[in-house]
Amino acid sequence: MEKTKQFLWGIFFCVLAVRLILAFTLPTFTYESYFHLRQTEHITATGLPLYHDPLSYGGRELIFLPLFHYLAAFFDLFLPLEFVAKVLPNLLLAGLVLLTYFIARELGYSTHGSLFTAGIAGFLPAIFSTNAFTPYSLFLPLIFFAIYAFLKLQQKGIDEEKSEEQKQKQINIKKNSRMQKKYVYLYLIAFLLATLTSPATILLLLGFGIYFLISLAENKKLPRDEWEIFIASTFFYLWIQLVFFNEVIKKEGVSFIWQNIPTAILPQYFPPVSVSHGIILVSIIPLVAGIFVVSRSLASAKDAKTFLLTGLAAAAIIFTFLRLLPIKLGLSFLGILLAILFANFYDGIFPFLRKTKLSFTLQRITTILFLGLLLTTVYPALSTALKQSIPFSEEVKAFDWLSTHSEKDATILALGEEGHLLTALGKRKNVMDDQFSLRDDAEERFTEVNTLYLTLFQTQALQLLEKYQVKYVVFTPHARQHYQLKRLRYLSPECFHLVYNHDDIKIYERKCALEKK
């Protein structure tokens, strides 16, 4: 037991160490992280989230769930924000190692299998974006903690069945009652916090729904306490969404689900699922093992707890397939579930092999499995971390330069992706960023920002620059790569002064205006 604990903590610290080394080696954060950094900074300074952002889109309303930012802001009170932003998400995601281990144990899997689960979850490529400071790093541990507490609730029925003596049963009931109360509260707290972190908590509700359907189809009687928990969770989820997103739903209707993302860039946010990429992100061995376990449990109709995991996995697949969930989050959730199911596979395959003539090779098979997992999980994870979409430190410097060398009320043109970088570091208004919610003109702005980078005609460019009152244009290597351009083709020295030119990053100041007749 002591050895298992040591192994578990060993995996945890190993995962945490690798994540932190990578996080501190790479100097910047992913592009979207700058939005969350700015919100955290604002909460630390004022105690409130920046729901009216004067810089994004030149000034706009923006609604989001703020729990993650409040948590980060709390640590920001006594630690530097950059340190918090690198350590906190990695610490939370490394926590999945412990959580998945306990979930696997709760499901009755062996310690060996559960340790494999912990290792796979820790090095899952889908969640190995070490420099991402996003609410998903809090959401995933919370949602799996809620699943763990829910599984603990199920424990009650099993103990009651086992007890034979009436007296013993009474003691068990009393004991379980206290235990159950504890886990009910833990579940409710975890669910409540997850609901305040991300609307994707609906995954859990849909997962429960599918689990109930599978159980009914398999003629399993559903425990009433599970129904009650489900009803309470559904009502709470809906209430929170209505409280926070009432205005957004009113204004955007159904497109609220797709966050009002312009149709032209929907594929970028919800790309069609590439099978090969998906397999790499969730890792091939747990995927094959997961499919095997699910099909076996559905065929035998015995293992009710596997039904829950199957329901949750189905929910993740449905939501990702219908583009209701960002692909990366869907694959992360699915990948962790597959890691848990791997323990079931591990426990099933070894007793089977023992009965065959291959029993003498068990040790070798374990080693091969371990090496296989290293190759298909750890290597892609490290590769994912090193290929994160982050700005170069020179780009960061350029945006920082703008904060001291441009007028305070200036609007600056940058890529949509770089919008948060501009508002967080440059502290100036952007034309657009990737928060499209509550913007009627998101599609129009997206098209016109593209035009501003691609047009050949100065009059067209000037007309649009005037429309958005743009004073400076930033041209980074990232923009160059994005549009496959060497330079902006409409620039002329009379109208656009080059005010910053370092490390292939250029900033132009607009000096001309179209004359209105």
Partner: protein, 454 residues
């Protein structure tokens, strides 16, 4: 509380007290809600009657503005009588004490009900006539019975959808009472005959409205729009639907629900009758929650807490919306100016939702009414507001004989300032004729008139 122990809400003191004193509590609630809406509207300097349908009816009936001050009392009075009659009817139909309480409590918190009786709506009037008809039908004094068919006839004159719904509801109520089955069948037969005759010979309207442009989602879910029922009430109704399935006597209510649901789905704006059924099933859902034995008391407390918060949130949103609903006193000032200074033949362009109040107070013709459902006019109106070039806008204004455009502050906020119609207003052919508290009336001079002037 231990597992296995029967956990119900029977011992809940507050609810128990509310059940016991429900009559006092519910009447107090009625006066607080309706009184609150009217008082706050008065404080906000809003014209006491809100909503487009009221001004549509006032224009048709040509009721002078001078009577408007006294008319505000009619809707809440009708609402109060409806509330009394619904309670009376529910008692006649043997509702349990709990069902009655939850039904009436939710009814008062339903925006569709409060909205129907804080302004003048045909559905509200029709419901009142219908309920009064039922009351007279069951009255001890036999002479009263003869008035009920007349009231039913009046109630079904609104439109076909209302008629079908009310006849079905009547069928459901009257046939439940065995002792009066003969008379009930006679009345129903007569109503069906009248409906058939009017359908074949007079081609009546299928459903009046819509008087405002709102999506189906906003019509149904009060949390997103102005009328409808709250999402939590609808969820509770879902629970109630499941719980009532075993009661055979309630089977017909499912038919009513289907009819009213498809009626709302088809024409989107008629929600009062569907809301009544939702509230009824939500009440049954609440009774189910109340009487059900919960295994996890924490989950029960949590659920009830959230449901209560959810229903209250919806109510507060709708209460606020009804308090701030237009027309405002500023709008009435602009309309009065129009009445005095704009030619009678002038056609005025504004948002369709402003049309009814404009027509009533200014007594001038708006370009477009929502109930016209004229796609061509809607398209032209959109083009005028969004077009960037005078070469598009001017011919459209001229071809449609639009000579005035009325802008509210809300319109000016939502339209882009540097392009579209707001930018084109800088052209010399537009002239600002009146401005008051952000409301503006612009005159457009057609080309022919401009040449003549020169």
């Amino acid at each position: 509380m231990r597992i296995g122990e029967e956990i119900t809400m029977e011992n809940h003191r507050l609810l128990h007290a509310l059940f016991k004193n429900q009559k006092k509590f519910l009447f107090l609630m009625f006066f607080l809600i309706f009184g609150g809406i009217f008082l706050l509207r008065a404080f906000q300097h809003k014209v006491i009657l809100a909503g487009n349908q009221a001004y549509y009816l006032l224009s048709i009936l040509q009721i002078p503005e001078t009577y408007l001050r006294g008319m505000w009392i009619i809707p809440p009075l009708l609402g109060f009588f409806c509330f009394l009659l619904i309670r009376h009817l529910a008692l006649q139909l043997d509702f349990s004490q709990k069902s009655l309480f939850f039904f009436l409590f939710f009814l008062l918190l339903t925006p569709a009900f409060t909205f129907s009786f804080t302004t003048i709506t045909l559905q509200g009037i029709s419901l009142f006539l219908f309920l009064l008809g039922i009351f007279l039908f069951f009255h001890k004094n036999k002479w009263m019975h003869y008035f009920s068919p007349l009231l039913f006839l009046a109630a079904i004159t609104v439109d076909i959808f209302t008629s079908v719904f009310l006849i079905l509801l009547l069928f459901f109520i009257l046939l439940g009472k065995k002792e009066k089955r003969g008379k009930a069948l006679f009345i129903l037969g007569m109503l069906c005959l009248v409906l058939a005759i009017s359908f074949f010979f007079f081609h009546p309207i299928f459903l009046r409205g819509p008087f405002q442009e709102e999506s189906l989602m906003k019509t149904i879910f009060a949390d997103l729009g102005s009328g409808g029922a709250g999402i939590f009430l609808i969820l509770l109704a879902g629970v109630g639907l499941g719980a009532c399935w075993k009661q055979k006597k309630l089977r017909l209510s499912y038919l009513l629900l289907t009819v009213s649901f498809f009626g709302t789905l088809l024409v989107e704006r008629n929600f009062l009758f569907l809301a009544l059924l939702i509230v009824f099933f939500a009440g049954e859902g609440a009774v189910y929650f109340y009487e059900r034995k919960w295994e996890i008391p924490e989950a029960r407390k949590f659920t009830l807490f959230v449901v209560t918060l959810g229903i209250l949130l919806t109510f507060l949103i709708s209460f606020q919306q009804q308090t701030f609903a237009n027309p405002s006193q500023e709008e009435v000032t602009v309309f009065s100016w129009m009445k005095e200074n704009i030619p009678v033949s002038a056609k005025i362009l504004s948002l369709p939702k402003n049309s009814y109040a404009l027509q009533y107070f200014a007594q001038r013709l708006p370009y477009l009414f929502p109930h016209e459902k004229n796609n061509e006019k809607e398209k032209i109106s959109e083009d005028i507001f969004s077009s960037t070039y005078i070469s598009t806008t001017f011919p459209l204004l001229e071809s449609q004989n639009i000579t005035f455009i009325y802008f509210t502050p809300e319109m000016k906020n939502n339209l882009p300032a540097e392009q579209g119609i707001l930018f084109l207003l800088r052209n010399e052919r537009f002239k600002l004729r009146f401005s008051h508290q952000g409301h503006e009336v612009w005159e457009f001079t057609p080309e022919t008139q401009q040449i003549n002037t020169k």
